[in-house]
């Protein structure tokens, strides 16, 4: 297989302005269908039309292509096409150090990158049998909960933006900006923090971070609730999201949903409680759930989770002990040969890493289980029968981040 030859075309080329055949814009793929599902999807009945949403689109939460089969405005079927952001992270991690894995896994869930860094670190710590100092554990929880709040604030604004309201996202970004500046004072970075280390964290809490945190905590919850009253009971917003994309418990489990979409159906599964890690067993918080399972419930659930996170941060600030922030580890890490699975609760759901080590300083296999990947599958189940405008609401309420979906 040779690389395709590229022809340089100049303005003097007489074929430059020849009309291209219109058939190249057909959404019907040129190859024969490979599976029965593909054959079923690309067979159009009378009146149906294939339309493409994405990969460049204002509302697909990243580069996601969705091929819709529509009958007028009603969706008959939909087929998400992934891979536009596939970076081969798992393969790259097999060729890097256990420490370098942190930087590679950072941009997977780029909105909440503390979590995507934390999990490979947790898996490595299991393979190394390292005890993380308690202060480091508390700082990790603090950073993660702050990141969770910023991610949820952005989610709520984003959902409103996809429905047409252009103001709530800026309110969401207002909250997110304060938190992100805080974390920049702590880690030096605003988006991809590179803060977690195997055995602890990178830097201790400093004065600027604590003062920003104190300022923020004094008004945080009140301001978030205040800004979200714009859409919470807005008739148009509620009318667009209530009853939309309703999932019941059985379906949620069958679709391997985790995180807010699962808790909105009433199942109180939260990895922080179901399988506690770090210092969460010592902290008091509730797992908010809702019963309806529709987009509106998922939206309100995010608001409840923000409240719980603020409560957690409050407790952490009262309980944080003194001590070292990094465990003593050799520079060249050679974990014992074996397998480890670690999972945490990220803002989107259960984020897991399955790490296999063969005794060398490079992971043998690093499998990243991203919650958005599994949550996004439900879009195909929930959309048929709705209108095009509803897919945006459904997709936005499931909160996918394409960095994690595509790895």
């Amino acid at each position: 297989m040779t690389a395709p030859e590229t022809k340089v075309r100049s303005l003097d080329d007489p074929t430059m302005f020849v009309d291209t055949p219109a058939t190249i814009y057909d959404a019907i793929p040129p190859y024969p269908p490979r599976t029965e599902r593909e054959a079923e999807f690309y067979t159009l009945r009378d009146g149906e039309m294939l339309i493409n949403i994405g990969p460049q689109h204002p509302s697909t939460h990243g580069v996601l292509r969705v091929v819709l089969k529509i009958d007028g405005e009603r969706i008959v079927d939909l087929d998400p096409v992934l891979g536009y952001l596939h970076r081969g992270v798992e393969k790259i991690c097999e060729n890097s150090d256990w420490h370098m894995v942190i930087s590679h896994c950072d941009p997977l869930e780029y909105i909440a990158s503390m979590f995507s860094e934390y999990v490979p670190v947790l898996a490595a710590e299991k393979l190394l049998d390292v005890t993380v100092p308690r202060r480091a554990d508390y700082i990790r929880v603090l950073a993660c909960e702050l990141n969770r709040i910023s991610s949820h604030a952005l989610f709520m604004g984003w959902l409103a933006l996809d429905l047409g309201g252009i103001t709530p996202i800026l309110y969401g970004f207002l909250e997110r900006d304060e938190i992100v500046e805080m974390l920049a004072a702590l880690t030096g970075q605003r988006l991809l923090f590179n803060y977690m280390r195997i055995g602890g964290v990178n830097g201790d809490l400093n004065h600027e971070f604590m003062s920003r945190l104190g300022d923020w905590m004094s008004h945080a919850l009140r301001r978030i609730e205040d800004s979200m009253t714009l859409i919470n009971s807005n008739e148009i917003f509620v009318g667009r999201t209530r009853g939309l994309g309703r999932i019941d418990r059985q379906t949620a489990l069958r679709m391997c949903l985790t995180g807010p979409p699962l808790r909105a159906t009433g199942i109180p599964y939260d990895v922080r409680r179901a399988h506690p890690y770090s210092v969460y067993p010592e902290l008091e918080f509730e797992i908010p759930t809702r019963e309806e399972g529709d987009s509106y419930a998922r939206y309100l659930l995010h608001l409840d989770e923000i409240k719980q996170s603020v409560h957690i941060i409050d407790q952490v600030l009262h309980r944080i002990p003194d001590g070292p922030i990094m465990a003593k580890l050799p520079r060249l890490l050679r974990p014992r040969p074996g397998r480890a699975w670690a999972a945490i609760e990220s803002p989107r759901g259960q984020y897991g890493v399955y790490a296999m080590s063969d005794g060398t300083d490079q992971p043998f296999r690093l499998r990243i289980h991203d919650p958005s990947f599994f949550n996004l599958q439900s879009v195909g189940l929930l959309s048929p029968g709705h209108l095009i405008a509803d897919i945006m609401a459904i997709m936005a309420s499931l909160d996918p981040i394409m960095g994690g979906v595509d790895k």
Binding site: F17, D19, T20, A22, Y25, M49, I51, N52, H57, P58, S59, E73, A160, L161, D162, L163, G164, G165, I166, T167, L170, Y171, L174, L230, I231, N234, I236, F237, G239, R240, L387, I388, A389, D390, M392
Partner: protein, 458 residues
């Protein structure tokens, strides 16, 4: 297909060459006219022709003025939208192009002219080219009948309202042309949504106005405004509140404004019918939308809020204070006026420049003088405006009309900043199941009330 010689010209060449051609042509015409003896007699011939057709001339001038008025209006409304939405979003909006960013929309206009102008492959080129023109025409033609001030209107038809709705409906044709000819499924979806939406909402729009027509007894917008003169209690909004609300909602839907902006919902179908348009073609759609906003606000004000009428008729007060057209007799000053005109501007300019020069130390004196001159102009302009407002009914009426209209424009912009979008089935359901019966009910109640009051009175 672009012609190669045109492509090879530099931008300066592209300006100078047409100018040269036009100048050459004019020169030839001029020489020919002078040499054949037509030119000296041309002036008297033109004068006679104009004076014989004065109404036609008046119409042409009025129509041109109205057409030219739409452009600054659109610019102002675009700026208002950018700034007001920004302030509601807790951000600043344009603040670098001119003081407070006032030149932002003008610069956007220039930018839009400079963009590449292409037609997509497979597009139906004549329809594609004409669609923005049709949409723009539909918006601008409605300007003809709006009464801006007593005596200040382009055309006073006694079917003005009917003309307005007839012409406004042409916009749908333009949108459908745009969507269909773009050879793009998104555009098609947008156009179909637009057609469904606008046609559905035209019915409550027109039905809600029939009540006003019954009260006023005429379709002429001028007469309707005259009927609302007096105090603000005479305005039709107090006699037809339901109709006012229905009209406002239907007008929002007619103008494709949020919450009914599905035709251009950029989070779903990118730009709807205008996805394939770029440059000035898109600028036309953009302009047409904002001109529509102005027209709909103007119509709301005309029909329900008294048009150019002030809330209270204060003419007795002004008369008592001595303000009437002949109050200030400038001609009586004689030579003193001339001296004042020569002496006062420089003195005022310097006086106004001094504070700026003293406060802002980085300014040089000539820069401060420039600012002082601008302030002097603003001051004198304001003084003249105030004098004109009190002396001429038309100016006062225009000020009230524009003030009220821009209040509604800001309300439209406010709704866009705040509200999310409705879905197409919710939108259609709302129009057909709620607004239409409500406007019919309003119609019947109004008719009944008129009959009953007529019986009681006579």
């Amino acid at each position: 297909m672009v012609s190669r010689p045109w492509q090879r010209l530099s931008p300066a060449g592209r300006v100078l060459l047409p100018l040269g051609v036009v100048a050459g042509g004019l020169g030839v015409v001029f020489l020919g006219g002078v040499s054949s003896g037509i030119l000296p007699n041309l002036w008297s011939w033109v004068y006679e022709a104009l004076s014989d057709n004065l109404p036609l001339l008046r119409f042409v001038v009025a129509a041109t003025a109205v057409l030219l008025f739409t452009v600054p209006t659109a610019f102002v409304i675009i700026y208002l939208e950018m700034k007001v939405i920004a302030l509601q979003n807790l951000r600043l909006g344009p603040n670098r192009q001119g003081p407070w960013g006032v030149l932002a929309s003008t610069l956007h206009g220039f930018k839009v002219l400079a963009k590449e102008d292409f037609t997509p492959t497979g597009a139906d080129v004549p329809v594609f080219t004409l669609a923005p023109v049709v949409v723009y025409l539909a918006s601008v033609m409605s300007f003809l009948v709006i009464p801006f001030a007593p005596g200040l209107f382009a055309q006073d038809m006694n079917l003005a309202l009917l003309y307005f709705f007839a012409v406004g409906g042409l916009g749908v044709v333009g949108l459908m042309m745009a969507g269909w000819s773009s050879f793009n499924k998104y555009s098609l979806l947008g156009a179909l949504r637009a057609a469904a939406q606008i046609i559905s909402y035209e019915i409550p729009l027109t039905l809600s106005v029939v009540g006003v027509v019954m009260l006023a007894g005429t379709l002429s917008l001028n007469t309707i405004v005259h009927q609302q003169s007096g105090s603000f209690l005479d305005w039709y909004v107090f006699r037809q509140p339901l109709a006012a609300v229905i009209f406002f909602i239907a007008a929002t839907a007619e103008g494709n404004r949020t919450p009914f902006d599905l035709t251009e919902a950029d989070s779903e179908i990118v730009a709807g019918f205008a996805t394939e348009y770029s440059g000035m073609r898109f600028g036309f759609f953009f302009f047409a939308e904002y001109v529509n906003v102005f027209i709909l606000s103007a119509l709301t004000v005309t029909l329900f809020l008294g048009g150019w009428n002030a809330p209270l008729d204060l003419t007795p007060v002004w008369q008592a204070l001595g303000a009437h057209p002949g109050a200030i007799d400038l001609g009586g000053l004689g030579v003193g006026l001339l001296i004042a005109l020569l002496v006062v501007p420089p003195i005022l300019t310097v006086l106004l420049a001094l504070p700026f020069w003293m406060l802002f130390t980085r300014l040089r004196f000539w820069q401060a003088l420039g600012i002082g001159f601008l302030c002097f102009n603003a001051l004198v302009g304001a003084a003249v405006l105030i004098w004109a407002a009190f002396s001429f009914d038309a100016v006062m009426g225009l000020l009230w009309f524009l003030g009220k209209t821009y209040v509604f424009v800001v309300i439209f912009v406010w709704m866009r900043a705040t509200l999310p979008r409705v879905r197409i089935d919710q939108l259609m359901g709302f129009a057909w199941k709620w607004l239409l019966p409500a406007s019919l009910a309003n119609l019947f109640v109004t008719a009944l009330a008129i009959l009953v009051i007529a019986q009681v009175r006579g």
